[in-house]
Symmetry: C3
Subunit: 323 residues, 3 copies
């Protein structure tokens, strides 16, 4: 059973207590969902009503609440950033809840030539192939597959069912038959990357497929052979990146985006959901559509598209009159 | 070897026999594909020719055939709904064919704190985490992952490779670095849900990600943290639903649809394939496109889009003449 | 450690040696990435500069180089097709690197009634169900699932996490409830097919879901029940093909394409990335868009779409003047 006192929580998040510090919570939730045994947080004035009604016993609130009416009988913890403090509290609870295996679970299969760093946890059903290198304090959930030669940095989290190092999709076509081009390269995942459930990241034909430090990849994403993804990117669910494309640093690819092969996506670019990228993208560009356009233009065109019927009728009338 | 007599089949589907009831079948197939040892069904007059030519020894046909010429030398079974009766026959054959493990297969990994209901079958390679609850008569195919705290109702079918309860995709970004927000919520699957192969349903940040009773989810679908899906929905392959979105009851999401986060999709809405939903959807709406529009409007706009070249040329001529 | 001599390589690829044949290489890479210990290839004059600067010790080059300045101090191997010869060299290296299990790994689960051909390799974590038939010299990477009755030809490669034979998505809806239609058919994969990581290919309702000889399927593709895919097709990542659709021979479906059910896609058709196919496709057609149009028309319409703002303004002016 989890039990965290308001006083202890305040100490961890560096907050100031208002009210009874001995009160304990057993969990955390949003203002509307929280029970009396949970902690919640208030970070936006549009949730004032929820703040008034919440059953949460302890609430994280901003240092400055500028006259926002505060609920009575609660323990409040004043912090700089209530959302961030809440994330820290989730971490506290998570630590108490965790039931990870100790190190490598005996039902994982790790080849003898693989090297696994200290503090790394590997769940049942994982396959760690020949000559794989895994850094320290990684977390591999069940049924993750790391094919031979894959290199994983430290503090990398890989959700269940992800497959790293499968053969890239490379064939030489002769007389209509497709002959496999052996894929002898590898996958390299840098430090602090997170990889979602059932993601696939293919090994390079030669050389590397690489994901840069701090990049976070959502579920069911496909990253093809020889792709290079930079640092601190966000790659949302079901995105597909074709072979040899280079994605810069701090790029955001929203859900279901597709990117053609051999392109360069500049640092800080943002591609909106379901877009299709067929050309290089400038750093900092914010794009939408298939094919992509600057998002403001894409939205304007989309609005006019919605008036196409009216436009068509007008032109018909004009034509009748004139041509 | 399967052997079902026409007489027994007629009894199960509540049909009336015409012809030799002692004839047996070993399988079932469509009218065109069926062999002499199989049963088939006729439910639509556009297949009259197939009905005449079928090799099937036994055929399920509607009670009223309104003068449709019937093939000779067959055993016919008259029923109210031939398609539905055929599904029941498939069930009979399926029962005879089944080779499920008895209960929990020893090569599945079930944590000690997990509780598995009576009659539930768990195939090899499955991972059932700490504090998971599974109801009665569920069927988990190979390599399914249920992370800690996941709750599954009764009569739930989960196809191979599905991952329930992976961490939601939640990060707090500070100075360009993405810090993990621990995901301490859970996944709840209600009774009679079916979940396709390699589907991913993420645990909630706090609280629940929930799929309502009777909902059927196809392969490779992604359901993000804190999503709530209602009862009796159909969610077709490769759909993606972003975080905290609420999908009503009896909603149909066709293949590859994407839905933005924090939206509400009304009861009975139908979203056509590959559409992108960026705003709330009214109950009963039938929508198409990226972004979605009412399907009739979307189709009309699409038709005019196809004439855009002609429209452009006309305007060019008009302009020349006038401006 | 791998060590291949230029002389041996020349013999294998049927090339003519220029320079020191005793030089050995330990790997292979592109001209720009290769180290001194690697072999590379030159096949296109736009890479002349890379050819001049490459550190590769051995380079495969075309027999005819038409005056292209060649780098000094290298061992060159003259061949008809440098790219194809390079693929052969990758095969040589791959053979020396391989660490496959011998036959069926003891941590794979193979039902007693399954039959596995000679020379077939099955990695840990695979599930081979009742009555499965697998041909000779197949390669099943970790955590592949072949449900009961699946039939696999010879020389088939299945990447990790793929699921073949999961139940098709078939339900009969009565009074708003969806009742499962048992799926008693099977999956048949012909010779020389390759199937990507985390792909799903569903068993047929009755009869077969079939993938023709030589077809290559990329990661995270979904193939529904009763689909028939022809020979020598290329099906790129994240494509979805709905139930009962027939795909001809030598068809290319680019990434994220979606195809509606019960359609026929003609031989040799090419569907560009992210397209949505809602109608039958003629043999040899090259299509793009949602819904698809001939690619030239689609591109032209797309170009005019980009001018929609200008068009709209012009029509507004014309209207003002005239109506």
């Amino acid at each position: 059973m989890i039990a965290l006192s308001a006083k202890d929580i305040a100490a961890v998040v560096g907050g100031e207590l208002e009210g009874d510090g001995s009160v304990t919570v057993e969990g955390a939730a949003g203002l509307d969902e929280a029970s009396e045994r949970e902690i919640s947080f208030f970070h936006n004035t549009k949730y004032i009503e929820s703040l008034q009604k919440t059953r949460a016993r302890v609430v994280l609130i901003p240092k400055q609440t500028n006259g926002t009416p505060l609920p009575e009988g609660k323990t409040l913890i004043r912090v700089d950033n209530a959302q961030w403090a809440f994330a820290q509290v989730l971490g506290l609870i998570d630590q108490q809840k965790q039931h990870h295996p100790k190190g490598i679970h005996p039902k994982a299969h790790v080849e003898e030539t693989a090297v696994v760093g200290a503090g790394t946890i590997i769940y049942p059903g994982c396959y760690i192939g020949h000559n794989v290198r895994i850094g320290e304090k990684c977390l591999l959930y069940p049924n993750v597959v790391l094919r031979e030669d894959t290199q994983i940095g430290s503090r990398v989290i890989i959700q269940a069912g992800a497959v790293l190092g499968a053969d890239g999709y490379g064939f030489a076509t002769q007389n209509g038959r497709h002959h496999k081009i052996p894929q002898i390269g590898r996958v390299v995942i840098e430090d602090d990357v997170e990889i979602g459930a059932n993601v696939t990241i293919d090994r390079a034909t030669t050389g590397e497929t690489r994901v840069g430090a701090g990049t976070k990849i959502d579920n069911l994403v496909h990253i093809a052979h020889n792709v290079r993804v930079g640092r601190d990117c966000l790659i949302v669910a079901q995105v597909g990146i074709s072979g040899s494309t280079k994605v810069g640093n701090r790029v955001t690819l929203a859900g279901q985006v597709g990117i053609t092969g051999h392109l360069t996506i500049g640092d800080g670019a943002v591609i909106a959901a379901q877009s299709g990228v067929m050309n290089d993208v400038e750093p900092g560009a914010v794009l939408f559509g298939t094919p992509v356009r600057p998002i403001k233009q894409a939205m304007k065109l989309e609005a006019i598209y919605g008036k196409l019927e009216e436009l068509y009728e007008t032109v018909k009338q004009l034509r009748k009159k004139l041509l």
